[in-house]
């Protein structure tokens, strides 16, 4: 008699434990996904800031270096392309082109001593350099979070829950030509 009475109790116990585990895993995944969304939002904020700074910079440089219209055009074009990009991959590619164009603009500025002494230019240069850094750092954090998220939803038994609630793998925000950003090896 006692064994028969125990079966439903045990069954209920197992179901309760399973349900609690499910809730825990689900909430954990949601938390991670929100972190991911937040990290992406951070990149977005910085990218927008860069779009806002670029016209100012181009105007300032134009006043001193009139003959470099080709460079200005490239920067403006790259900016427009980046702004109209749709997917994460497209966006990443367009941003790389923009970063390159900005680099050539700053290289142009090097040749004009008057420009380099201009307070407004110096302020814009610092802001843009820092914004570039911020993009790089928030992308780094985003990719770290994507990695954690992707690993988490693929590992057994969490993958069952992830599949049930349709948690999908996320794309990394990658930079092409990663080799360029690598430092030369220094030995001490």
């Amino acid at each position: 008699m006692t064994t028969i009475a125990l079966v439903p109790i045990l069954l209920i116990g197992v179901i309760v434990v399973l349900a609690l585990w499910l809730v825990g895993v689900y909430n954990g995944l949601i938390r991670l996904r929100n972190q991911l969304e937040n990290a992406w939002a951070q990149i977005d904020v910085q990218l927008k800031r860069r779009y806002d700074l670029i016209p100012n910079l181009v105007e300032t440089v134009k006043g001193y270096a009139k003959h470099e219209s080709g460079t200005f055009e490239r920067v403006t074009q790259a900016r427009n392309m980046a702004m109209s990009a749709k997917t994460v991959g497209e966006r990443a590619e367009a941003e790389n082109v923009l970063t390159g164009a900005l680099k050539s603009l700053f290289a142009v500025a090097e040749a004009y001593p008057d420009l380099k002494a201009n307070q407004n230019f110096l302020r814009l240069q610092e802001e843009l350099t820092s914004t570039e850094n911020k993009i790089a750092f928030s992308r780094q954090f985003y990719n770290d979070t994507v990695m954690t998220f992707n690993t988490r939803i693929e590992v057994f038994p969490v993958n069952l829950v992830a599949g049930m609630f349709n948690f999908l793998r996320r794309e990394f925000f990658e930079v092409k030509g990663e080799a360029e950003r690598q430092a030369p090896q220094v030995k001490f």
Partner: protein
């Protein structure tokens, strides 16, 4: 990184539980010593000592470090570059809120972080640090501090420090009491009691061992943990910046400086990036030191092949013959190459770094055409000053009276016609009101009028 934080929290819970247990046992034993059966009261006393200490420590550490006359909170316009660096590191670490930045006027380069909640985290740097380090180095230092905040080291180490303090105090009280006349009373109670004597004796013996070894063990545990957290923060800092050399060379500069930080004490020393009480990297390397040897930290950072936690682990294994991270942590750590150095020099000159202090102390800044900048204290009499370098006579920037028809001085200052001042540029600027008070205009000041805090008169600002 998430795995790393979780592992940290697990370890913290273990340590706090262990130290808490030691504290409670000592409390119980102390109670039993005073009067058999009073162990629970002793337990209560231990808790009271702990909470009083906690309250005092929280209040005192913040007051000691952040509320001095030589500390200011920096706004973006005070130091845009430092602000940018902190913002960059906030993004790299994924911290929720932007921490406040405090500048301490001290020639010794050092930095520390504080805060109970993410909303009021603080990163503090000394003026000696800001003007001495270049951008990459400063970034490394800030990243190290962010790692402390991200890993909740500050809250945890504070709790551990307070527990340690309580254990030491309690043990000292009981030892004192045993030394002076405690023994007499105990022998009396023993002769009175019959059967309970044996059990009591065992409790006493165990208690005595605890009284002597407990504080010592707690101390060793605490300092070992403090050192480990420094290594962890170094590792995370290198990962955030993707540039270990920045932090390594910053540590070298900090430890090579000859001045010691004047505002730090034994209690607040573990909060700093390098122990502030020992100049020239002379901290003795022992079980009782709060920081690992700086030379070793630099060696590990420079031995890194990449910038990930795995690379730090490899370098750490080689230098210390020990492991730092769990396998799960390393499993989710992204590999990362070391980025190129930025080649930017120091972000500010010494004068620029200390300018906020001159502003809060009411100095008037006068620029000469020869490039010299003169700081004139409030209360200086006269309308002009001679340049120390080129000898030209400079007028002090003063708000001028609007020419009025009647020419009579106004009776109520706030109703008087406004004084006038024309801005010279777009940067920081200071001017003198007719009453002698210095007024500072920030780069972001955009209004047309400003009111003097001292006499209440309005000053019209034109540009």
């Amino acid at each position: 990184m998430w795995e790393q934080i979780r592992a940290n929290r697990r370890r913290a819970v273990v340590l706090i539980t262990l130290m808490g247990a030691v504290l409670l046992v000592i409390g119980y034993v102390a109670g039993e010593f005073f009067a058999p059966g009073a162990g629970v009261i002793g337990l209560g006393c231990a808790l009271v000592i702990f909470f009083v200490q906690l309250a005092v420590y929280y209040g005192a550490a913040e007051t000691m470090l952040l509320h001095g006359a030589n500390v200011v909170e920096l706004k973006r316009e005070d130091s845009p570059r430092l602000f940018n660096i902190v913002e960059e590191m906030k993004l790299a670490s994924g911290l929720e809120f932007m921490p406040k930045i405090y500048l301490v006027d001290d020639p010794a380069p050092n930095a520390f972080s504080m805060g109970r909640k993410p909303e009021d985290y603080v990163v503090a740097v000394t003026s000696g640090l800001v003007h001495r380090l270049n951008r990459d180095e400063l970034e490394g230092v800030i990243a190290h501090e962010m790692a402390h905040l991200k890993n909740h080291d500050v809250q945890f180490m504070t709790l551990a420090a307070v527990m340690l303090g309580s254990i030491v105090i309690l043990a000292a009280i009981v030892r004192q009491w045993l030394w002076f006349g405690g023994g007499r009373r105990r022998s009396r109670s023993e002769s009175r009691g019959g059967g309970g004597g044996q059990a009591q004796l065992i409790i006493l013996a165990v208690g005595l061992i605890f009284l002597i070894l407990g504080p010592l063990m707690a101390q060793i545990l605490y300092f070992a943990c403090s050192r480990k957290r420094e290594f962890l923060a170094d590792a995370c800092g290198a990962q955030f910046t993707r540039y270990p050399e920045g932090l390594a060379s910053a540590l070298q500069k900090i430890s090579a400086a000859s001045a010691t930080t004047s505002f730090a004490s034994q209690a607040t020393a573990p909060l700093f990036i390098v122990n502030p009480l020992y100049a020239g990297g002379g901290e003795p390397d022992s079980v009782f030191s709060s920081h690992p040897s700086t030379a070793e930290r630099i060696r590990i950072l420079r031995g890194m092949v990449g910038s990930s936690l795995t690379d730090y682990e490899a370098a750490y294994d080689k230098a210390a013959k020990n492991t730092l991270f769990s396998r799960e942590t390393l499993g989710t750590s992204q590999s990362g190459a070391i980025r190129a150095p930025s080649n930017e020099g120091p972000i500010e000159t010494r004068q620029d770094t200390r300018a906020p202090f001159y502003r809060t102390r009411g100095y008037l800044k006068v620029k000469c055409d020869c490039g010299m900048e003169i700081s004139v204290p409030e209360g200086y009499e006269g309308d002009e000053i001679t340049c120390i370098r080129c000898g030209s006579v400079l007028p002090l920037p003063t708000a001028s009276e609007t020419p009025t028809v009647a020419g009579l001085p106004p009776v109520i200052p706030s109703l008087a016609p406004p004084l006038q001042y024309r801005r010279a540029g777009t940067g920081w600027e200071s001017l003198r009101c007719a009453c002698g008070r210095t007024i500072q205009l920030s780069p972001s000041f955009a209004a047309s009028h400003i009111q003097c805090e001292s006499c209440g008169r309005n000053i019209e600002i034109t540009s």
